[in-house]
């Protein structure tokens, strides 16, 4: 007998499993996976300006910083300004899907690829953002590698206001609708990496970024 059969066999015996109740159980499972009921959710005003306001408020509470510009085309200049203001290098690794913007004009040297250890700044877009908690939802793809939001000390994310949703459930619904099957990696990011392991004192910048900066595109 395999371990699988042994474990499942004991679970089945303890649940008084029969062919008949297995069949009805499977139907119940399939029904549930279609219905996908939701639990109670805190109220989040779904109106666009309210979503923007809440995302900003919660992002700041997560120790992220936020800048607001109108359009995507203005993002490179905002990135350059942030980097200069914080005395960070004007050099970044970037998601290939964002590489077509005019970074040269803004004075930022970008490399469109996955991140390596030496990269100090990583620039990403986001699949959507979650207003409830101030969270970025990043879906991995060949032109959106996960390492860019992870290895560099500074992570800059470009967030179109139209992609702000109230809660995590809405992010998942969007993923199902737009992507079909889930990507290999969905990463929900809420502020810089941190640890409280030593004396329960929160320190920013554990293994991931020390800084997370959102550039909110209000007109997009």
């Amino acid at each position: 007998m395999t371990t699988r059969d042994d474990i499942l066999g004991r679970v089945r015996a303890r649940l008084n499993r029969t062919d008949a109740n297995a069949a009805t159980g499977r139907i119940a499972i399939d029904t549930l996976l279609v219905a996908r009921p939701q639990g109670p959710r805190p109220q989040v005003d779904p109106e666009k300006s309210a979503l923007v306001a809440r995302l900003i408020e919660k992002s700041l509470a997560q120790s992220s910083t936020v800048d607001r510009v109108a359009t995507l085309a203005e993002a490179p200049a905002a990135v350059a300004k942030y980097l200069r203001d914080n005395s960070l290098p004007l050099q970044a690794v970037i998601w290939p899907q964002m590489g077509q913007l005019d970074w040269l004009a803004a004075g930022v040297a970008v490399a469109a690829r996955g991140a390596v250890d030496a990269d100090l700044v990583g620039i990403t877009g986001c699949f959507c953002a979650i207003a409830e908690t101030g969270t970025l939802m990043l879906c991995g793809a060949p032109d959106a590698p996960a390492s860019v939001s992870l290895l560099p000390e500074t992570h800059i994310a470009i967030v179109p206001a139209s992609r702000i949703v109230p809660g995590m459930e809405d992010g998942f619904a969007l993923a199902r609708a737009e992507l079909g099957q889930l990507p290999r990696a969905i990463n929900f990011i809420s502020g810089p990496s941190r640890t409280g392991d030593i004396e329960q004192t929160i320190v920013l910048g554990a293994h991931g970024p020390y800084r997370v900066h959102l550039i909110l595109l209000e007109g997009q």
């Binding site: 004991r10 649940l15 805190p42 990507p183 990696a185 990496s193 392991d197 293994h207």
Partner: protein
């Protein structure tokens, strides 16, 4: 992991006489409790969310075999290999086999309590594979001669900054640092090189999503992401009870887990990982394995202890437990401390190997009211006590004392007689003082307290006398 739960009593005395530990525990208590209290106020319907979460967990446990089959099918369809392990040995065998198959020399680990159950690090080392713990707390323990964690989410809650500073100076051979930020950076630099050079990542799994065949990983440090993004191979080790139906259920549970654990609205990183690196992907593992572990869990299904399997490992029960706050986690002697550990340890390692644990609770139910999935922990502890009695595992003297009391209480005449003598004896023992300072019948009580003297007559006597006077 070898259990030291049999030495619980001695462990508690050692903990109480360790001033450093006492200081550290006092400090931690306030932080955990206050932060949680604040963060749950953000939810409009905290209790309704707890009820929903308990229902999600029950839904799976009531048909666990079918949900496991569903998860296995979904995960396999996305290219993961699903393995099963009955016990600690089989977990270790699987991991070593996988490592050998993929010619792994070094593996980076994000926190997994199941790897502690399995004693995996020792098994990997014995097989010539280097395990590196990457959660800051777990890393501190590993470089301190593989010390055991004392908390399931804050593994070094028992240590002070000074102790960590000493350890880093000694092990890293660097100048002593006294700032937590500097120590954290030092660990980051050491561990970064391991992330970049490891062939295999090992993680636990906070939840397995049956709908999509995904594992959800919750971390703050980002080490969970490193471990599952950079190495060629990713192994998830998790209990069979961790399945949940849908991503909607994950969303509900994520409103409770971080708040209950660390008092955060959301943890920094929640990763939902599905399958292996896809065509064109620039990162992610080429091979993904799930090891679904029994190690005592299957036998709880359908039993009076099934509720315990709802546990989502947040640690709120221990953070709020007066006993845990007083003795810390090591005293419990195995992987899981506090109330949830006092239930799980006897169930997973044998009732007779952890006789004290179910009794090491005041049944104050602070754990029960904070549990995000409404596990009736005091009731489960009480049931374990009942099991001990049924199986004749309690000490003779204790059984006799309880039987004696029960017999007295069942007979009003005997009770009155014994009470008459008892209260007079105690009154005399007090010798006119308010309290008795030496009383050999209850030596444990007398360890740290006086015994208040009784008035000298029972209520029943006095009430009867009053009746006569009237």
């Amino acid at each position: 992991m070898e259990s030291r739960s049999r030495q619980f009593k001695a462990n508690t005395l050692a903990a109480l006489s360790n001033p450093g530990l006492q200081q550290n525990m006092r400090q931690a208590k306030g932080k955990f409790v206050d932060k949680r209290a604040k963060s749950i106020r953000e939810l409009d319907d905290f209790d309704g969310t707890r009820t929903a979460a308990a229902a999600i967990r029950n839904r799976v446990l009531d048909n666990l075999d079918l949900w496991l089959e569903k998860f296995e099918a979904s995960a396999s369809a996305r290219g993961a290999t699903v393995l099963w392990a009955k016990d600690a040995d089989e977990i270790c065998r699987h991991v070593v086999d996988i490592a050998r198959r993929h010619e792994v020399k070094k593996t980076v680990k994000s926190k997994s309590m199941l790897s502690e159950e399995a004693g995996l690090n020792l098994a990997l080392e014995a097989a010539g594979i280097q395990p590196v713990e990457t959660d800051l707390g777990e890393y501190i323990l590993q470089i301190n001669n593989n010390e055991a964690p004392s908390h399931i989410i804050a593994p070094v809650v028992h240590k002070s900054l000074d102790e960590v500073a000493d350890l880093f100076e000694k092990v890293h051979g660097t100048p002593r640092k006294t700032e937590i930020t500097a120590l954290t950076r030092e660990a980051r630099e050491v561990l970064r090189s391991h992330f970049l050079t490891a062939d295999m990542g090992i993680s636990g799994g906070n939840f397995l999503v049956a709908e999509t065949g995904s594992v959800a990983l919750v971390t703050n440090e980002g080490n969970g992401r490193m471990v599952t993004t950079l190495p060629r191979v990713h192994v998830v080790i998790t209990g069979i009870e961790k399945v949940i139906p849908t991503l909607e259920d994950l969303s509900t549970l994520m409103r409770l887990l971080p708040r209950s654990a660390t008092g955060q609205s959301i943890s920094n990183y929640v990763s939902v990982l599905t399958g292996t690196q896809a065509a064109g992907d620039l990162d992610g593992p080429e091979h993904l394995y799930y090891i679904l572990v029994d190690n005592g869990r299957a036998d709880l299904i359908g039993s009076e202890f099934q509720d315990m399997l709802r546990c989502i490992r947040c640690g709120a029960c221990m953070n709020h437990c007066p006993v845990y706050q007083t003795i810390g986690g090591h005293a419990y002697g195995w992987v899981y401390p506090g109330p949830m550990g006092a239930v799980l340890t006897p169930l997973y390692t044998g009732l007779e190997n952890a006789l004290d644990l179910p009794h090491a609770a005041t049944l104050c139910n602070q754990c029960g009211v904070v549990c995000p999935v409404k596990i009736p922990l005091p009731e489960l502890l009480r049931k374990l006590r009942e099991k001990q009695v049924e199986r004749g595992l309690r000490p003779q003297g204790e059984r006799r004392a309880f039987k004696f009391w029960a017999r007295l209480a069942a007979s009003p005449t005997l009770y009155a007689l014994a009470a008459w003598f008892g209260v007079r004896y105690l009154k005399q023992l007090a010798g006119g003082r308010k309290t008795i300072t030496s009383f050999s019948l209850v030596p444990e009580w007398m360890l740290g307290r006086d015994f208040p003297a009784p008035e000298g007559k029972t209520f029943r006597e006095l009430y009867a006398e009053r009746g006569e006077k009237k």
